[in-house]
C-alpha cells in the first residue's frame, strides 16, 4: 500500500495542480496576514475560508485524480496486489498531497509572521488539523462518487453538488426548518444537524476552541451548552474521525465489487 501511496503522491507532485494549490494557500496566508495585521484575527478569517474551500478543492482534485489515473488503476489491478490496498494507497496519496500543500502553504506565512512565539499557535494547529480532516473526508467522498459513476461529467457534477449541499444548502435548509418547526424541542435536532455535516462540525470545533460564542451560531451554542467546551472538542474531533472512516470504508466496499 505504501508503494502505491508513494507513486500516487509522486504523480501528483509532478502534476502542476499541487503547485497551484500550494501557491494559492501561500498567497492566501500572506494576504490574510497583511490585511489583518494580527495573528488571531487572521486565524478567524482563515477558518471561514478553509471550511468552505478545502472541501471544494479536495472534491475537485479527488474526482479529477480518480478519473485521470484510471490507466494506473487498471494496470495495478492486474498485478498481485490487494484491491483495497490499491484504492487506499491512491486515496491516501491524494489526501496526503493536498494536506501537504495546505500545511506548507499556510504554515509558512504564519511561521514567518511569528506564529511560534504567539498564543495563536494552538488555534492555528487545530485549524490545520481540521483542514487535514476535511481533506481526508472530501477526498473519500469524491472517490466514492467517482467509483459509482463511470461517466466523468456525471461524477464531477454529483461530487460538486454534494459539496454545494454540505457547504451551502445544508445551512439554508437548517435555518428554514428552524423557522418552520418553531415550538418543537429544537436542541436535539440542532445537535444532530451539526453532527451530520462535517463542514458545520468543523466550524463548531474551531469556534469552540477559539471560544468566540458570538460566532458560534445556533447549533454551536446548543453544542456548547450541551457538552461544554472540552467535551465538545473531544466529541467533535471523534465525529470528524468517524466522518473520515465511514466514507473511506464505503469507498473500499464499492471498489471491491467494481468491474474494470
Amino acid at each position: 500500500m505504501f508503494k502505491i501511496l508513494k507513486y500516487s503522491f509522486y504523480d501528483l507532485l509532478r502534476s502542476r495542480w499541487s503547485y497551484v494549490y500550494l501557491g494559492f494557500y501561500l498567497l492566501l496566508g500572506f494576504v490574510l496576514l497583511f490585511l489583518n495585521q494580527d495573528l488571531s484575527k487572521a486565524v478567524i478569517t482563515l477558518m471561514n475560508v478553509i471550511i468552505v474551500l478545502v472541501p471544494l478543492i479536495a472534491t475537485i482534485l479527488g474526482v479529477m485524480y480518480f478519473y485521470n489515473s484510471r490507466e494506473f488503476t487498471t494496470l495495478l489491478l492486474a498485478q498481485p496486489l490487494r484491491r483495497s490496498r490499491i484504492f487506499l494507497g491512491q486515496y491516501l496519496g491524494v489526501a496526503g498531497s493536498l494536506s501537504l500543500s495546505l500545511v506548507l502553504g499556510l504554515g509558512l506565512p504564519f511561521a514567518l509572521y511569528g506564529l511560534f512565539r504567539s498564543g495563536a499557535i494552538w488555534d492555528f494547529s487545530l485549524l490545520l488539523l481540521t483542514g487535514v480532516f476535511l481533506n481526508l473526508i472530501f477526498t473519500a467522498l469524491a472517490f466514492l462518487v467517482a467509483l459509482a459513476n463511470d461517466n466523468r461529467i456525471k461524477g464531477f457534477g454529483y461530487a460538486v453538488l454534494l459539496w454545494l449541499f454540505l457547504a451551502v444548502i445544508y445551512d439554508g435548509l437548517f435555518l428554514l426548518s428552524l423557522i418552520l418547526l418553531e415550538e418543537y424541542p429544537l436542541d436535539t435536532f440542532a445537535l444532530g444537524a451539526s453532527l451530520l455535516n462535517p463542514i458545520d462540525l468543523s466550524r463548531t470545533l474551531i469556534l469552540l476552541k477559539l471560544d468566540i460564542s458570538a460566532l458560534l451560531g445556533y447549533t454551536g451554542a446548543v453544542f456548547k451548552s450541551f457538552f461544554g467546551t472540552s467535551l465538545g472538542l473531544v466529541i467533535s474531533l471523534g465525529v470528524l474521525l468517524l466522518w473520515t472512516v465511514l466514507p473511506t470504508g464505503l469507498m473500499l466496499r464499492k471498489a471491491r465489487s467494481k468491474d474494470f
Binding site: 494496470l75 492486474a78 498485478q79 498481485p80 484491491r83 468491474d259
Partner: protein
Amino acid sequence: MIHIENLHKKFGRNPVLEGVELSIAGSGIHAILGPNGSGKTTLIKSILGMVCPDRGSIHLDGTPIRGEWAYRNRMGYLPQIAEFPSNLAVAELFRMIADLRQQEGQAWPLIERFGLQPFMDKKLGTLSGGTRQKVNLVLTFMFDAPLYILDEPTSGLDPRAMIALKTLIRERKSSGALFLITTHIMPLVEELADNVIYLLEGRVYFEGSLEQLYHHTGENHVEPAIAAIAEQTHV
C-alpha cells in the same frame, strides 16, 4: 490448473457469460475464439479478478480465486487495450512494476528482442500503437510465470515483432508454461494452438484439439471450421 464452473456475468441487462464451464490443465497453448463481443475479454478478466462474476466459481490449482490476489504472481497478463499512465517513461514503467511486485523482472532481454531500446526514455503517452503493444508484451513476459493470458497479443505488431512474439511464446511453452490466447487471426491459431475453445452466446460452444475441430466440422483449416460452427448455430 484452471477450473471454471457455471460462470455467469451480466453487464447491466446485457448477459455476457451464461454458464461457462472450462477445465484446462498441464502446459500448451489454448486459443480462446469467438466473435466480437462474445465475452472472451470478460472471461479473461474474471480469471484475473478484474471483473467480478455474478455466479459460478473459478479455481486455480485447486483454490478458489475469489477475494484472493497473490495468485496473480503466477500469471503474466497481456490486456487487449494497453493502458499506461501517459506521463511515465517506458523505463520508469518497467521499474515501477518490478518495484510494486517486489520481484526482479527480466526486462532487458525482452527490450532487445522487440527493439525497444530507443524508446526507453520516451513518455508512454507519445508512443505509437504498435510500440505500446511491445511495451505491453515486455511487461507481460518480464516475470517468469507458469500461466500466461494474452488478449489479442498481435494487435498492431509489425512482421518482425510478430516473429519475435511467436518465438517467445514457443520458448516459454517448451519450458512448461500454459497459455490462454484470444485472437481473431486464424493462421496464428493453426500455427500455435494445441487446443481451441470457442465461445458463443455466453457458453463454451466447442472445446477440443485442432484435429477434433477439423473432424467435427469436416474442414481442414481453422477459418472455415470456425465459420462452419458459427453457421450451425443459426440453423
